[in-house]
């Protein structure tokens, strides 16, 4: 199964904000986490994730800081801001509406939703 581009694009912001709400993180770890959460179904590219992170940073939903790691490398960590948390809550409300509607329309197709 492959998740369509539009759906990936629509869900990207809430997923990233959700992951950052768990604690600050950096690009590679975020990709791993997404992979883990979706059982490998959501396969984001770097070309998708990093520009998205930069956009969220520009919008003020996340803030970034550079931290030194082994050798001369430095790593850019992202942290969610209060504004980002508000955005996450709003996105969550919208997604909840969509999911509620879908569960009513497709009661038989997704029976396990009720118990999960």
């Amino acid at each position: 199964m492959k998740v369509t581009k539009d759906l990936v694009a629509a869900s990207a912001t809430p997923i990233v904000l959700g992951i950052l709400a768990e604690g600050e993180s950096y690009g590679y770890a975020i990709l791993r986490r997404i992979n883990e959460l979706s059982g490998g179904e959501l396969d984001w590219t770097e070309g998708f994730l990093y520009p998205l992170l930069h956009r969220l940073e520009r919008l003020g939903h996340v803030e970034a800081s550079w931290q030194a790691v082994a050798g001369e490398r430095r790593r850019k960590y992202y942290r969610i801001t209060p504004q980002g948390l508000a955005e996450l809550a709003e996105q969550r409300r919208q997604w909840q509406t969509v999911v509620d509607a879908l569960t009513q329309v497709w009661p038989l197709l997704i029976p396990q939703e009720g118990t999960a």
């Binding site: 590679y28 770097e46 070309g47 520009p51 430095r74």
Partner: protein
């Protein structure tokens, strides 16, 4: 599987990969850092799964996908970068860039202060007469050279040579007994800045004096610096127009402030800032000089060919007085400039195309015109004898003629597939010291030879 560490090899590959990333205007230094960290993490993850380091590197790079796609995505988010006006949003965490910003500010301030120092000794712009035009290059170019040397950290003797030559320039500009309306003073005023500019060139290439590529970089630097300077002067013009206007509106005359402070200090500081912009923003506007060249090469070619056709049709000789000779010198210089800047932007591996043929036509047309000019000029010198001006004009002509003749020959070989492109580039970079020798000869030797006439 062979058990090799391969650590160094992989490190080399990382360096190479970074090189590729650096060439993308859409990707900044910080993006490169972020992506490199990602790549290294991926490699480490794959090594943990049992791959060797170089295998892991290949897989990781492949997984990251083509740089084309990657930078397109980045460009979409960072469309402002395509405007490249990022100078003051530079990465605060980058100490090297910070350092060069401070060095630039110090040098620009130094230039601005130095042009006001003579006033303390009673030489104002109004009655200093020839003092400022004579010394103009000396107020700015040493500071630009200082900034470049600060960045390059060359061998100690380079500092000595630069200091000595700038001092020599100062001596020539001020100690030579040049009358205010002698020809020699005109020569010194026009050629000293050029001679000093080649000292800036020495500072520019000082970390690798023999490298041909480095000298080509200096040629590029010159073009970009000039473009920046013109842009800054346009901006400065707008600023000054507003200063006049808004102060006038409150009944205060800003003339004195503008003429004695804003214009001179701004101008000398701008030359240093221009150098800094080119250094820090390499790859930013670096396409402008070549683009201008591409636009104007066909136009100049057509114009010169038309000129030749008209001469042939009318059978008229060129009426050469000194001004005309200077103009034809400048024409050769422009043709050389068009040639240089299209060389500087050309991919050495690119195949020959119609543009190369057009360049050959341009150079040959310029040479033919110049041959006519020199022919007429020879008669004139026999008639009137030599003066500092016509000696310089003829000498300049010969310097350019030699360069263009050999360039034409090399271009001809290139178009005929006999010779490689590298030969043309090498010829131009080898020729740079010739200009230096010539300009310094004009400045140092000609005035005494002609008794400071």
């Amino acid at each position: 599987m062979t058990v090799t560490d391969g650590k160094d090899e992989v490190e080399d590959q990382f360096v190479q990969w970074r090189e590729y990333v650096r060439r993308r205007p859409e990707l900044r230094e910080s993006d490169a850092d972020e992506l490199e960290d990602h790549l290294r993490e991926t490699v480490d993850g794959l090594v943990a799964l049992g791959l060797s380091r170089d295998e892991a590197f290949l897989v990781a790079v492949k997984r990251m996908g083509g740089l084309d796609d990657l930078s397109r995505e980045f460009a979409r988010e960072h469309s402002e970068r395509l405007w490249k006006q990022l100078m003051f949003t530079g990465e605060p965490a980058d100490p090297a860039r910070r350092g060069s910003l401070y060095a630039m500010l110090v040098c620009a301030l130094g230039a601005a202060v130095s042009i006001k120092v003579p006033e303390l000794f009673g030489l104002s712009f109004a009655d200093g007469a020839m003092f400022y035009p004579r010394n103009f290059g000396l107020f700015t170019l040493p500071w630009l050279a200082a900034f470049l040397v600060w960045r390059r950290r060359p061998a100690t003797w380079v500092y000595g040579v630069l200091a000595a030559m700038f001092a020599l320039g100062a001596v020539v500009a001020n100690a030579y007994p040049l009358g205010d309306d002698s020809q020699s003073i005109g020569l010194v005023m026009s050629h000293l800045p050029l001679a000093l500019w080649l000292l800036v060139g020495l500072a520019y290439v000082s970390d690798d004096l023999r490298a041909s590529r480095r000298r080509m970089d200096f040629i590029r630097f010159t073009g970009e610096w000039f473009v920046y300077l013109v842009l800054m002067m346009l901006g400065g013009g707008v600023l000054i127009a507003f200063l006049y206007g808004i102060f006038d509106a409150i009944g205060v005359s800003a003339d004195d402030l503008i003429e004695n402070w804003v214009v001179p200090c701004g101008l000398v500081a701008a030359t240093v800032v221009g150098g800094w912009l080119v250094e820090v923003k390499q790859g930013v506007i670096e396409n402008i000089a070549p683009v201008l060249t591409r636009l104007f090469t066909p136009l100049f070619t057509v114009a010169l060919l038309a000129y030749l056709a008209v001469i042939g049709w009318n059978g008229s000789g060129i009426d050469v007085d000194r001004d005309a000779l200077v103009m034809f010198d400048l024409l050769l210089a422009v043709v050389l400039g068009l040639l240089l800047y299209s060389l500087s932007a050309r991919d050495p591996q690119a195949p020959r195309g119609p543009f190369d043929v057009m360049q050959l036509a341009l150079v040959v047309a310029a040479l033919l015109i110049d041959a006519l000019v020199l022919y007429t000029m020879a008669g004139r010198i026999a008639e009137y004898g030599t003066t500092p001006n016509n000696t310089t004009a003829i000498g300049q002509n010969i310097v350019l003629l030699v360069n263009l003749t050999w360039s034409a020959w090399l271009l001809f070989g290139f178009v005929r597939r006999r010779a490689g492109f590298a030969a043309i580039e090498r010829w131009q970079t080898l020729y740079l010291p010739v200009y230096a020798v010539w300009f310094w000869t004009v400045v140092l030797v000609l005035p005494p030879v002609f008794g400071f006439r």
